[in-house]
C-alpha cells in the first residue's frame, strides 16, 4: 500500500520543511528552557563539589553561606579541627560583586563571586579543585585564581575594592549557584574586602569613638587605641568548610559541632536540599510555567497546521472516501503527517538548541534524558493535535465529490 502521508509530504516538502523549522525553533526554545533549569541544578552541584567540603558550619539558625548571610568568628575552625572525625577545616568567605579589570585600554567589569580561601594548596576545603592554566594561590595577599568565564587571562590585574590582584591561575566551571564565575583570593584580603569602609567613613568612625566618653576614658590609657584597632579589623568569615574522615558518617560528625560549638552544621545532602529546593525553587517553577506554556503553544501550532493542511485536502479526502478508502487509512495519513511534522520539528529543535546553548551567558545543560522526554512529549502533542484534523476529515461527506 502506498504511504499517502509520505507522498503528500514529498509533494509539498517545502511547506513541511519550513513549517517543521518553525516548529523546531519553538521546540528548541523548550529544550533550552529545560537546559537552563538543568544548568541551574548543575551549578548548585558544582558549587558543592568545588567547595571540597563534607560539612558546612555556619551561623546558628541561618541557611548560610549560599542562601542567607552567615557570620562566624574566624578562629572557630580551630575548635572544629579538634572534633572527632574532622580531617580538615578551613574558613571561607563569599561575596558577589563587580570585579574590575585594570591596566587595559578599556576597563571592564565582570559580575563574579569573590571567594576568600586559605591558601594552603589543592585539596584543602574551598580551594579550586583543578586549574586549566597557571598555579594556585601561594601568597597571603593580592593573588587571584579566576574562572575562565570571567574572561580574565593569566597576568591580568583586577581590582577588588581598593586592592589590586594579579591573576595567577585559571579554572573552569567554578560558579556560584546563580551562575556567576568565581574569583578566588586569599582569605585576609577577602575579609578586608567584605567589611572595608572608605577612608572618610573610617575617619568619621574614629572621631565618633574618640568623642564618646564611655569609650575614651582619661583614666584608662590605651582603651581608645584598642577599640579603634578592633574596629579596623574583620574577624568574621561566612562559613567553615569541613572535610571528614573517609567512611565517617557526616551526621555523626556534625552533631557534636552543633551541640558544643552552638553553630548550625549542614551535611552535603542538606546543603543540596537548600540550594535546589529553596534557592532555585522559584526559578524552577518559573521555568516549569514556561515549559507548560511552550508545550501548549507547540500543540496549538501543530494542531493549526495539520488542521489547515487537512482542510486544503477536503476534496481529495471526499474522493478517497467515495472510492472506498477506509477511515482508518485517512486517519493514519493525517496522524503520520502530524508525527512527521513533530519529528522534523524535534530534529531541528535539538540541533538549534545544541548550537545556541553555549552562547547563553549562563550554563545550559542539555541532558539526553530531557531530549528523550521532549521527544516523547512532542510525539504525544502531535498525536493529540491531529485529533481535530482527523475529526474534520472523518466528517467529510463522500457525496461532496459528486457535484450538485
Amino acid at each position: 500500500m502506498i504511504s499517502l502521508a509520505g507522498r503528500d509530504i514529498l509533494h509539498a516538502w517545502g511547506k513541511f520543511v519550513f513549517t517543521g523549522i518553525g516548529l523546531g525553533l519553538l521546540i528548541g526554545v523548550t529544550l533550552t528552557m529545560a537546559g537552563v533549569y538543568r544548568g541551574m541544578v548543575d551549578d548548585a552541584h558544582v558549587l558543592l563539589d568545588n567547595s571540597g567540603a563534607d560539612l558546612w558550619v555556619v551561623q546558628q539558625d541561618t541557611l548560610g553561606p549560599y542562601a542567607e548571610s552567615s557570620s562566624i568568628y574566624d578562629d572557630t575552625y580551630r575548635g572544629i579541627l579538634g572534633m572527632t572525625g574532622v580531617v580538615r577545616a578551613a574558613n571561607v568567605t563569599y561575596l558577589t560583586m563587580q570585579v574590575r579589570q585594570t591596566g587595559v585600554a578599556v576597563q571592564r567589569d565582570v559580575r563574579a563571586m569573590v571567594v576568600g580561601i586559605t591558601p594552603e594548596g589543592p585539596g584543602h576545603p574551598g580551594q579550586p579543585s583543578y586549574l586549566v592554566a597557571g598555579r594556585h594561590i601561594t601568597r597571603g595577599h593580592y593573588e587571584a585564581v579566576a574562572d575562565i568565564a570571567t574572561g580574565f587571562a593569566l597576568g591580568d590585574r583586577i581590582q577588588i575594592r581598593r586592592n589590586l590582584f594579579t591573576v595567577v591561575g585559571l579554572t573552569r566551571r567554578m560558579v556560584s549557584s546563580g551562575g556567576d564565575p568565581m574569583v578566588f583570593i586569599p582569605l585576609k584580603d577577602a575579609q578586608e574586602a567584605q567589611f572595608l569602609k572608605d577612608n572618610d567613613a573610617i575617619v568619621r568612625q574614629r572621631a565618633r569613638t574618640a568623642e564618646n566618653q564611655e569609650l575614651n576614658r582619661p583614666g584608662v590609657p590605651g582603651l581608645l587605641e584598642a577599640l579603634i584597632a578592633s574596629q579596623s579589623t574583620n574577624p568574621y568569615v561566612n562559613a567553615v568548610l569541613v572535610q571528614i574522615q573517609p567512611g565517617a558518617d557526616p551526621e555523626t560528625v556534625a552533631e557534636p559541632i552543633r551541640r558544643w560549638k552552638r553553630l548550625t552544621v549542614y551535611t552535603r545532602a542538606q546543603m543540596q536540599e537548600i540550594l535546589i529546593a529553596k534557592l532555585i525553587a522559584t526559578s524552577a517553577k518559573q521555568i516549569g510555567m514556561f515549559l507548560v506554556i511552550l508545550a501548549i503553544v507547540s500543540a496549538a501550532v501543530v494542531a493549526f497546521i495539520i488542521y489547515t493542511l487537512t482542510l486544503g485536502k477536503i476534496r481529495e479526502i471526499a474522493v478517497l472516501k467515495l472510492i472506498g478508502t477506509k477511515n482508518r487509512t485517512i486517519s493514519a495519513m493525517i496522524l503520520q503527517q502530524s508525527v512527521a511534522l513533530g519529528l522534523i520539528g524535534f530534529i531541528v529543535g535539538k540541533i538549534v538548541a545544541t548550537f545556541w546553548a553555549p552562547i547563553f551567558p549562563k550554563y545550559v545543560l542539555l541532558e539526553p534524558g530531557d531530549a528523550l522526554r521532549g521527544f516523547v512529549a512532542v510525539m504525544i502533542i502531535c498525536v493529540l493535535a491531529s485529533i481535530v484534523a482527523i475529526r474534520a476529515a472523518l466528517n467529510v461527506d463522500p457525496a461532496e465529490a459528486i457535484g450538485g
Partner: protein, 243 residues
C-alpha cells in the same frame, strides 16, 4: 485478481421504482419520485435533466453515498437495495463494484498518474506491483501511457480526464457513474472522452451512466434517461457517430 464480477457484469444495473425523500412532514421534499432505469453491460446511456430535477440525488443513490427511501437496485443478479441496503459494507461496494468519473478529474495531487489509478486495487488488497501493472495497462489503453510517471499538475485537461476514467475502470466495476465528465472540455476533447467511455464499456462489459448537460455529447447516446421532477423518462437517442 477477483474483481471480474461475472455474475454482475452479465446483467449491468437495474433500478425499479426508486424514490428519495429529504426531510419529514410538511418540509419533506421528494427529490426522486419514481425512477426506473436499466443499463446493460457494454452500454453507455445519458442521464439528462434540468437543474434540481434530481440527477445528482440519483447519482448519489446509485453510488451508495446516500440511502434511497424506497425502491430496488440491482447490480447484476445481486440486489443491493430493496427498501433498505442489502449490503453491509457500502464502502467496499463503492470500491469494488462502482467506478466514478467526476466533472473535474479530482486526481490526488500528491500521487503520480500510475499511483492515482493503482490506489484503488491497492485499497482492495492487491499487491503494489500488480496494481501498478494493471494501471499502466489501462493508461496504455487510454493513450496516456507516456504520462505514467507524471504528476497530475503536469497533465492537460484531457489527459487528466482520461486518467480519471482509468481510475474509474481499474477495478473492472460493472457500473461506472460519470458526473458531467466533459463539462470542462472543448467539443473535440469532450467527444474524445465519450468515445473512450464507449470503447471501455465495450471492452470491459461495463454499464456506464453519463450525467450531462452538454449539448455536444447528448446526440451521441443511443438511449437517454430524461429526469424531470424526480421521475425518469426513457427516450431514444440519436446515437450519432462521434468520431
Amino acid at each position: 485478481m477477483d474483481n471480474q464480477h461475472p455474475e454482475i457484469s452479465a446483467q449491468g444495473i437495474r433500478i425499479e421504482a426508486l424514490s428519495k425523500r429529504y426531510g419529514h412532514g410538511d418540509t419533506a421534499v421528494d427529490a426522486l419520485k419514481h425512477v426506473d432505469l436499466s443499463v446493460a453491460p457494454g452500454e453507455v446511456v445519458g442521464l439528462i435533466g434540468p437543474s434540481g430535477s434530481g440527477k445528482s440525488t440519483l447519482l448519489k443513490c446509485l453510488g451508495a453515498v446516500i440511502e434511497p427511501s424506497t425502491g430496488r437496485m440491482m447490480l447484476g443478479n445481486e440486489v443491493i437495495y430493496d427498501n433498505k441496503w442489502k449490503i453491509k459494507d457500502l464502502r467496499a461496494l463503492r470500491r469494488d463494484k462502482i467506478g466514478f468519473v467526476f466533472q473535474a478529474p479530482y486526481l490526488i495531487p500528491f500521487l503520480n498518474v500510475t499511483d492515482n489509478i493503482a490506489l484503488l486495487p491497492m485499497l482492495a488488497g492487491q499487491s503494489n506491483r500488480e496494481a501498478r501493472k494493471q494501471a499502466v495497462e489501462l493508461l496504455e489503453a487510454l493513450d496516456v501511457g507516456h504520462r505514467a510517471t507524471a504528476m497530475p499538475s503536469q497533465l492537460s485537461g484531457g489527459e487528466q480526464q482520461r486518467v480519471a476514467i482509468a481510475r474509474g475502470l481499474v477495478n473492472r466495476p460493472p457500473v461506472i457513474l460519470a458526473d458531467e465528465p466533459t463539462a470542462p472540455l472543448d467539443s473535440e476533447r469532450a467527444l474524445a472522452v465519450i468515445r473512450i467511455l464507449n470503447d471501455m464499456a465495450r471492452k470491459f462489459e461495463t454499464a456506464i451512466i453519463v450525467v450531462t448537460h452538454d449539448e455536444k455529447i447528448i446526440p451521441t447516446f443511443k438511449r437517454i434517461y430524461n429526469i424531470r421532477d424526480g421521475v425518469t423518462y426513457e427516450e431514444k437517442g440519436e446515437g450519432r457517430n462521434f468520431t
